[in-house]
Symmetry: C2
Subunit: 220 residues, 2 copies
Amino acid sequence: MGKRSGRSAEGRAELRRDLVRAAVDLFTARGYDDTTVDDIAAAAGVGRRTFFRYFAGKEDAVSPDHELGLARIAEVFETAHPAEPLLPLTLRAGETVFDLYLSEPDTARKRFALVHAVPALRDREAAMVHHYRRLFTRELTARLSGVEDGDLRAAVTAAAVVAAHNQALRRWLADGGTAEGVPACVVHFRKVADLLPLHEGPDLEQVTRRLEQVARALER
Amino acid sequence: MGKRSGRSAEGRAELRRDLVRAAVDLFTARGYDDTTVDDIAAAAGVGRRTFFRYFAGKEDAVSPDHELGLARIAEVFETAHPAEPLLPLTLRAGETVFDLYLSEPDTARKRFALVHAVPALRDREAAMVHHYRRLFTRELTARLSGVEDGDLRAAVTAAAVVAAHNQALRRWLADGGTAEGVPACVVHFRKVADLLPLHEGPDLEQVTRRLEQVARALER
DNA sequence: CAGCGTAACGGCACTGCGTGCCACCAGACA
DNA sequence: TGTCTGGTGGCACGCAGTGCCGTTACGCTG
């Protein structure tokens, strides 16, 4: 008897959080393998079928909304001023995803513990990180076209950025995982700037190419 | 009636290849979702139960032997001369995995096409790459202890190496995916050397620390 | 050569994930 | 009040993955 039928947009987001909390709590208490999807749905007060309308699978029940994260990054790249140098742009894009992981620190800590402990969740997280990496690679490749070994630089930079993001999250967790630690986490992430092969040196040819690229982008 | 019972070590490797070939061919011909494990096992002439003694799951049926790849990398790091600089050591370790992907170019090409097309296989591959990345991160972290931001450098370098490895494989595939293209693939991979934050500059302190590290390693 | 231990195989049954299908119910609108 | 729309719950099905056990081939030993 669909007591929740005709749910509003806010109601959907609310139920999503309820399901995540139920999944995290059950996985933590009874273990991932010993918790069925029925258990999670029942704990959230909905039917099993509804669970699969909010998550593609059991492994996604503890994840932040990666669709939103990917959309945010894409938006940063799309709406950026064409003259903005690649390095700060890339860092800005990376920073927009932190709060997806770090809002609700309590749930975040439990989630990290679970992802670390359960192989299935670890692999799922790795797959999602892979999607972030691919998005960065696409955006950077397009902006490094014409540069010597631009494909390789883009791939390496994208991998480095997501690795640094991950590293920053681990650092945040090691430092207690509190809401106050979030700024320090972002600062730590920015340290990756010195390690990225994105420095446009004083090479005349590179500067010229960059100017042409900006000019083309501004025409559109 | 177990005609294959009591299989020798070579027989096991042989059957593994047969299963991979059967899986690749069936996935290519009928699609991943429309191929059951029973189909693969039957095509290889064994029972369904035997398939799961060779692969942890349906998604692994098209994979190279990653256990072997991880073991090779670990061995390179273990048996390396303690005085060997980190950069060539890391490159050497990465190169040992190419032939796992590139032996039997015919199967390799089909595998790449499948991994590119099927989400489940793409995610599985991403998870495996993640394991390689973690191994590199562990080894590099241990060797960068004491260095400024050693953890971050290790994580970034590891991510860059596996990204470059992937990039080289894509390049090989784009160049036709022939056995003759393998050397060029390795050459392309080595280009990552210039992008890695591993350069031990002429800084006196760094050199001293490196010498102490080598001395400690040699004592054991 | 006969007997025996080991290791891999095949079959069976079982749990649980993920999905297609359909009936149901709530709110919007005419 | 009738109808349309969208989210929900229940049911049933296919198949992945696993535990268990009987069977069969190979190697070792006497």
